[in-house]
């Protein structure tokens, strides 16, 4: 479009037509964007501002909010031990995801992405949990985690092995890790898929060249595959962190954030104190805090990872 109009301009002597043309283009662009923009403003931007407004009220959700308390909700939230606990839990989930879940996905992607026999089958198996709904996953894992060795799969195995059964979802020291295991099972297929796509983009010549130079497969992985995957890793890390901050369904289905807040995440905290306890202003304030954390993380992360990608230069 751009180059086209430029050549036409060189033919046309009139000076004003270029500007009209450009203005026309802009108008068309604007008109095409308009429907999406309107929807975006109504369903994304407006609710955010509305939430900010509600978050300054002590409001039970029935009738109009009248009791404005300014930043009172925010002060209360940041002061609340349960909220601090939920932030800590989210941080633990993020760290575990980055340290365990993503490396596992990279390693598996390398295995099933290359020349493993029956790799199509493995790819399907690993991706299957991601397709399953979160509620189904939660209920299924609750059954697996059942403390009764005669009914729970994990405790059944432990008892068969002569070990002590574990109260997976009832022990306050274990529950968060039990939930994390389910999260990993559920989501690592998604990251695996991301890495598989990334691997497809790496030209085989580079690896072949390295092999000719005598690089071992481990060297080739660390010095060629990983650096060339960097842009995929960037995306995957960001998805993983944001997903962890917003995690709600699985946790709520399996533990309701319990026992006694041991598996509380920020999202379950928002639900418990906003909806269950009918404090909608307070809940809105929690949502705004989560929103701010997500935005700050995204901006910082993009600043920190600005180094261009090796392959695309982006």
């Amino acid at each position: 479009m751009q180059s086209n109009s430029a050549t036409q301009n060189s033919v046309l002597p009139k000076k004003g037509s270029r500007n009209t043309r450009l203005a026309n283009d802009r108008l068309v662009v604007f008109l095409f964007l308009l429907p999406a923009l309107i929807l975006f403003l109504i369903f994304v931007v407006y609710p955010i501002f509305r939430s900010v407004y509600y978050s300054t009220f002590d409001w039970k959700g029935l009738g109009q909010p009248v009791h404005n308390i300014g930043l009172g909700n925010y002060v209360k939230i940041i002061d609340d031990e349960v909220f601090q606990k939920s932030v800590k839990n989210v941080v633990i989930i993020i760290v575990l995801s980055l340290v365990l879940q993503l490396p596992a996905a990279i390693i598996l992607a390398n295995m099933v992405g290359r020349n493993l026999p029956g790799r199509a089958l493995f790819r399907t198996i690993f991706f299957l949990p991601y397709v399953l709904s979160e509620v189904n996953t939660g209920i299924m894992w609750m059954l697996l985690y059942n403390p009764d060795p005669e009914r729970g799969f994990f405790n059944g195995i432990l008892v068969q092995l002569g070990l002590h059964p574990v109260n997976w979802l009832a022990d306050m020291n274990v529950v968060l890790f039990a939930v994390f295991l389910t999260l990993t099972w559920k989501y690592f297929g998604f990251h695996l898929l991301l890495y598989l796509t990334g691997l497809q983009n790496i030209p085989t010549e580079i690896e072949e060249a390295a092999r000719m130079d005598g690089a071992t497969s481990i060297q080739s992985f660390f010095f060629i595959t990983l650096p060339l995957l960097s842009s995929t890793i960037k995306t995957s890390v960001q998805m993983s962190v944001l997903g962890s901050i917003q995690q709600f369904i699985l946790v709520w289905v399996m533990t309701r954030g319990g026992p006694v807040n041991a598996s509380e995440t920020m999202a379950t905290y928002m639900y418990r104190f906003g909806l269950v306890r009918f404090q909608f202003g307070y809940g809105a304030a929690v949502a705004i805090i989560m929103f701010i954390i997500c935005v700050i993380f995204s901006l910082l992360y993009q600043q920190l990872t600005r180094k261009p990608d090796y392959l695309t230069g982006l």
Partner: protein, 451 residues
Amino acid sequence: MARKLYTLLSIVFIAAFMLSACTTPTQAPAAATNAPAAATDAPAAATDVPAAAEPVVITWWHISTKDPALSDWQKMADDYMAAHSNVKIEITVLENEAFKTKLTTVMQSGEVPDIFQSWGQGGMIEQVNAGLLKDITADLDANGGEWRNSLGALDAFAVDGKNYGVPWDMGAVTFWYNKDLFAQAGIEAVPTTWSEFLADCEKLKAAGITPISVGEGDKWPGMHIWAYLVSRIGGADAFAAAAASGDARTGSFEDEAFVQAGYELKKLVDGGYFQEGFLGATHDEMNATFGNGKAAMELGGQWSPSVQAANSADLLGVKNLGMFSFPAVEGGKGLVTDIVGGGNGFAIGANAEPEAIDFVKYLTSLDNQKVIAASNTGIPVAKGAGVALADPNMVLVSEAVANSTYYQLYFDQVLPSAMGGIINDAVQKIFAGTATPEEVCAEIEAGFLAQ
């Protein structure tokens, strides 16, 4: 020509609606007198309901997710629709917790269903104050109070003398126990005092039997143990004094009865009387444990036997099931015959058509209440329906209710709705051992003062 006819017809309809809307409220009871015949004789009622040809859609949300209640309700709706060709009943079945969440959301918009599950009092009062419910006092009083006199326990669904719903089930929370396991542990009589109860727990534990099954992951099953202890220790007055508002409030949730209840509950936790993993168990899971004969007792309401059966491996539940009232605590003011309980009812949404009210009348008719009684879905409130109770367990609950010296509605139903979550979260800390009873009571008191 045809078009003109339609136009004329619609104008007539619009005019009819406007005129009927203009009638003064005092005339409403007179208009309603036509309808009560429906209660006993549904098919005949079709001709009495005004504007019979006008199609009406009734939206109904209930929480009976399992049979037989699920199909019983469906059949009643089908029968009613068959008798009233203009009425279409849209049923939405929701699980308990999902229902509460979804109702909260629709309450925001004011678009409540015509008929929906309600437990009365606390939560219902808030809905009334928000203008979401319809006053059906006139319908109850029509025909010399025919409908009103046919039902019991209407007070739970009344605010300031006006009715906004009707109950269909009123029961009691009691201990259910496995007679075989009691015999196995050498316990001959059910405990009537708290120290006997603790001694029996110890006997069961010594015999290698889990004494009590509780679903503390859902929180409310365990909360009822604490609520009963409060009621047994402090009597009717302790809770009433703490739950009142304004100048009527003479007590607090930090009073002796509440704290001591926490310590008594702690004895059960410290004694190790609950099943493995009780902190994470759901209500279904707790009933699976008891229903499969893996625990000797559980505290639960009239719904328990059917939930136990539904969650047990053979779908039959405990073969030798017994029931006893929560034991009296020595030195406490409450009697062993005082009851903590509640029931289920239907609230009427503000926009409900007269047909919806007529349908609820049909649902709570003697015949349909007998169906509810016969299938063990609940303890009927319609007078004379109790004879249909086939299950001896339900007869026991029904007798406990009938002979109660004091009827304490569930704590979380009497208090403002947010308090349910606060009490549940606080009491769970006693089960988990993360807070002392004093701290738990202070948390509840702080939550109450913030309402």
